[in-house]
């Protein structure tokens, strides 16, 4: 069980941009690329709803380079010998960092986004890790749902009504979360059964 609760998490794995940094590692391992190209691949992979700003991707790549998980070198643009651009490559640490991220479920990050990002760049060898992480997330959602106060169906005051609607929103979110998690886990498990 310890595999999804890493005791110490690296700096690059924390914060709201952690899913994007992790996904970038996965993309770099697939093949090197310059910032703009990696941004395009990231957007294509995760979808428009993530609202990824290409400028942010340059910043994230610099952060990864500072952590030793990416290395950049200047290369000449095709057809233009005088202008160069930075092309990012994975380093020796990149594969193990990706694996570590795959099996780390942070309590405070936007977990579902993190899982989505992991799915977007997951290798087949990550299948088990994903399944375990999804299971853990489902359990967490159930535990959270348990904490939501029940409603007696007759919120008498305006304040009580508003509070109840807020709780309803939380409950709806958790339900959607659990639905997606079970569906995804089922599909991964079916794939595993088919290919093993």
């Amino acid at each position: 069980m310890g595999m999804v609760q890493a005791t110490s998490t690296k700096r690059w794995m924390r914060g709201a941009s952690a899913p994007l940094r992790g996904a970038l590692l996965g993309l770099l391992l697939e093949r090197p690329g310059h910032g703009g190209e990696l941004a395009n691949r990231l957007i294509a992979r995760l979808g428009e709803t993530w609202r990824i700003d290409p400028n942010d991707v340059y910043r994230l790549l610099e952060q990864l380079e500072a952590e030793g998980l990416a290395s950049s070198c200047e290369e000449h643009r095709r057809g233009n010998e005088r202008r160069t651009r930075l092309v990012y490559h994975p380093t020796e640490q990149t594969p193990s960092a990706l694996t570590c991220w795959m099996e780390t479920l942070m309590p405070r990050e936007p977990v579902r986004l993190g899982l989505q990002a992991k799915l977007a760049v997951a290798r087949e060898q990550d299948l088990r890790r994903l399944s375990v992480a999804l299971r853990e997330h489902e359990r967490e959602c159930l535990a959270l749902a348990q904490l939501v106060c029940p409603s007696d169906g007759q919120a008498r005051s305006w304040a009580a009504l508003c509070m109840d609607c807020t709780r309803d929103a939380v409950y709806g979110m958790l339900q959607a979360e659990i639905d997606w998690t079970t569906r995804t886990r089922q599909r991964i498990d079916e794939y595993a059964a088919r290919t093993s």
Binding site: M1, M3, T99, E103, Q125, D126, L127, R128, R129, S131, V132, R135, E136, E138, R139, L142, A143, A145, Q146, V148, C149, P150, S151, D152, G153, Q154, D168, Y171, G172, L174, Q175, I178, D179, T182, R183, R185, Q186
Partner: protein
């Protein structure tokens, strides 16, 4: 987790326990796994909610809990007794005396019957006088807040909300130890549904009746002591909480290839 304090008293067995319970149904040439090695425990007076989509296995889980069906593998125990190994007659007695099963599909009122008669009739085989049965029925109707429907109202004239409450009264009148509820409230109004669920929680809580409730709408399960979700016959449980309900995961998390 803290270790349990030493106790001289032996802990009572859970009211209901599933141990590696599996159930399969044929589906054409294939087989559907409705339950896949499901294990959990429900203690007396506890409330457990099961969340699952259609065809996730939750109704199968409930039918097995009520001993209406038998598992293909594994053991279902009620108050320590293995209900998969008792005669159908004994099982029927158990079901009548200790377990009440409430499902929105189970409305069996005959036309022209009054509400009071309908609830009292469910005590038919208990050897009570009709007068006593009606007295208890009235108490049960009062407990769910529809005593006013009482003797005069004809069952056919009830709204969905009233119907659900009368069914609840019918389940309560036999004073079960376990109430099993499958999709309790197909009511159009959200307020009605939540009010019904609140009444359900109150009447079971006050009487110390254990509650096992399943729904495909999580809001219906608000306020239970423990939550489980079921998909493709596999159970996932919220964390352990005290001794209210102890849940064993199906198997330890498999470690991935490194």
């Amino acid at each position: 987790m803290r270790p349990a304090p030493p106790s001289l008293l032996a802990e009572p067995p859970p009211l209901l326990s599933f141990q590696n319970v599996s159930k399969r149904y044929p589906d054409g040439g294939r087989e559907i796994v409705a339950l896949d090695e499901v294990s959990f425990e429900l203690h007396a007076g506890a409330a457990v909610g099961v969340y699952g989509a259609r065809r996730s296995g939750k109704s199968t889980l409930l039918r097995l809990a009520a001993a209406i069906e038998s598992p293909d593998a594994g053991v279902v125990r009620f108050a320590g007794r293995d209900v998969t190994r008792i005669s159908s007659r004994e099982r029927a007695r158990l079901l009548r005396s200790s377990v009440a099963f409430l499902t929105s599909a189970g409305w069996l009122a005959s036309p022209g019957e009054t509400v009071l008669d309908h609830v009292a009739m469910s005590l038919g085989s208990e050897g009570l006088t009709m007068r006593e049965a009606k007295r208890r029925a009235l108490l049960a109707l009062d407990a769910v807040g529809v005593a006013a429907l009482g003797a005069e109202e004809i069952t056919a004239s009830l709204s969905l909300r009233e119907r659900a409450l009368v069914m609840l009264a019918r389940a309560l009148v036999r004073e079960p130890r376990l109430l099993i509820v499958d999709e309790p409230a197909p009511m159009p109004s959200l307020g009605d549904r939540e009010r019904f669920c609140a009444i359900l929680r109150t009447v079971t809580g006050e009487r110390g009746i254990a509650l096992l409730i399943a729904s495909e709408d999580m809001a219906t399960l608000r306020g239970v002591g423990a939550l489980m979700s079921i998909s493709a016959g596999e159970l996932c449980c919220s964390e352990e909480r005290g001794t209210v309900v102890r849940l064993r995961p199906k198997r330890a998390a498999a470690s991935g290839p490194s």
